[in-house]
């Protein structure tokens, strides 16, 4: 076995890339995060790991609400930019030309250009070292109509991208379908379990 040990590393691959939206001191702000995940299905919930000193965390603590916006590959440049500068210094929404709208929560700004927008209420904020784990309940989901196929969200139309740590930090697109889930493993199930 040729395995190499690296000490403790946060290596879950692939990582989605999202823009977290908050209102800080009355002004909308957005920052990209790759360390997020779904944390439950009923009610739908998610988590985002955010460093203590981030401007975004100020807005989350002020209002106990936030948004998660899934950018498409067309917004790659804007997403990367939002990770290079702080909302304490610049108005990222203006500089990126984001059209902002609001749904149920008046302190969870949503980006019209992002194909998917989630409005979230804070459920938990856990101290996990140099990050805070913010767990939010999704209260509404918005999707751009042309990203639907037969009324269902279509990942190939949404065109989300992933953040990858490799030789350098990179963004990768979502590629070809490898197989149908809860289906491609059925041949093994037939062999070992029957039917």
């Amino acid at each position: 076995m040729s395995k190499k040990q690296f000490g403790p590393q946060p290596w879950i691959f692939p990582n989605p890339t999202v823009l977290v939206g908050t209102v800080v001191d009355g002004k909308p702000n957005f920052a990209p995060y790759a360390w997020s995940g779904i944390t439950g299905g009923d009610p739908p919930t998610l988590s985002v790991g955010i460093r203590h000193e981030r401007y975004t965390l100020i807005g989350i603590k002020q209002n106990k609400v936030f948004s998660v916006n899934i950018p498409s590959v067309d917004l790659l440049e804007e997403t990367d930019y939002c990770g290079m500068v702080s909302g304490a210094k610049v108005d990222k929404a203006e500089e990126c030309g984001f059209n902002i709208f609001y749904g149920r929560l008046d302190k969870a700004p949503l980006i019209e250009q992002c194909p998917v927008n989630l409005e979230c209420e804070v459920l938990h904020i856990l101290n996990v070292g140099i990050h805070m784990l913010v767990v939010g309940k999704i209260v509404q989901t918005h999707i751009t109509e042309d990203c639907l196929t037969d009324d269902q969200p279509d990942i190939l139309k949404i065109k989300p991208f992933v953040y990858s740590r490799g030789p350098t930090a990179r963004y990768n697109a979502v590629g070809d379908v490898l197989g149908q889930a809860f289906n491609v493993g059925k041949s093994l199930k037939k062999k070992h379990i029957g039917s």
Partner: protein
């Protein structure tokens, strides 16, 4: 604006696809999980969400340790199988021909064929309604040596895949460098 409301949906795409390992009643078991994410970097911590009745979760409660194994595209059939059947009914390790090894934690089974393996200790378990959210601290990381490029993990060699929705997707070629492509807007706004 052409937006449609779908009600609350867990629509955070793409989802990673991992095999969570635990020891249930002394025996290694693996479950396929898409609802996972990184929580923190120092100490490195991750989350996984499992429905309360899951067999694999029983092992996590029994030992307070578990593993996360990142399968490559070559293991898509075995991964799907691990999501179709319960460890209560069959020995998934045998059915999938997984070669199991152990590191520091004797109740966190690792799959040799998976290019990345994380050994974890439980730090929190939160009740999220339908799911239990397990927050784990990574105590050791293993990577198959042929997935390294210049001593760094290379996602193109690891070949992880994404779940969403009801299909597995490969990860495409890198199309931009992070903390770099946005510099154009940064220089414009200065």
């Amino acid at each position: 604006m052409n937006k449609k409301k779908l009600g609350p949906q867990p629509l955070l795409w793409p989802h990673p696809t991992v095999l969570v390992g635990s020891h249930v009643d002394g025996k290694p078991d693996f479950a396929a999980v898409a609802w996972t994410g990184v929580a923190a970097s120092n100490p490195p911590a991750i989350t996984i969400a499992l429905q309360h009745h899951r067999y694999n979760l029983k092992g996590i409660y029994q030992n307070n340790t578990f593993s996360v194994n990142i399968p490559s595209e070559d293991l898509v059939k075995e991964t799907d199988y691990c999501g179709l059947v319960s460890g209560a009914d069959t020995d998934k390790v045998k059915d999938c021909n997984f070669r199991v090894f152990y590191g520091n934690l004797e109740t966190a089974p690792l799959i040799e064929q998976c290019p990345i393996n994380l050994e974890l200790e439980v730090v929190h378990i939160l009740n999220m309604g339908s799911h239990a959210l397990v927050v784990g601290k990574v105590v050791e990381t293993y990577i198959s040596e042929d997935c390294l490029t210049g001593d760094r993990p290379d996602m193109i060699k690891i070949k992880p895949f994404a779940f969403g929705p009801f299909k597995y997707h490969a990860i495409g070629e890198a199309f931009a460098d992070a903390f770099s492509i946005g510099k154009e807007i940064k220089s414009k706004s200065k």
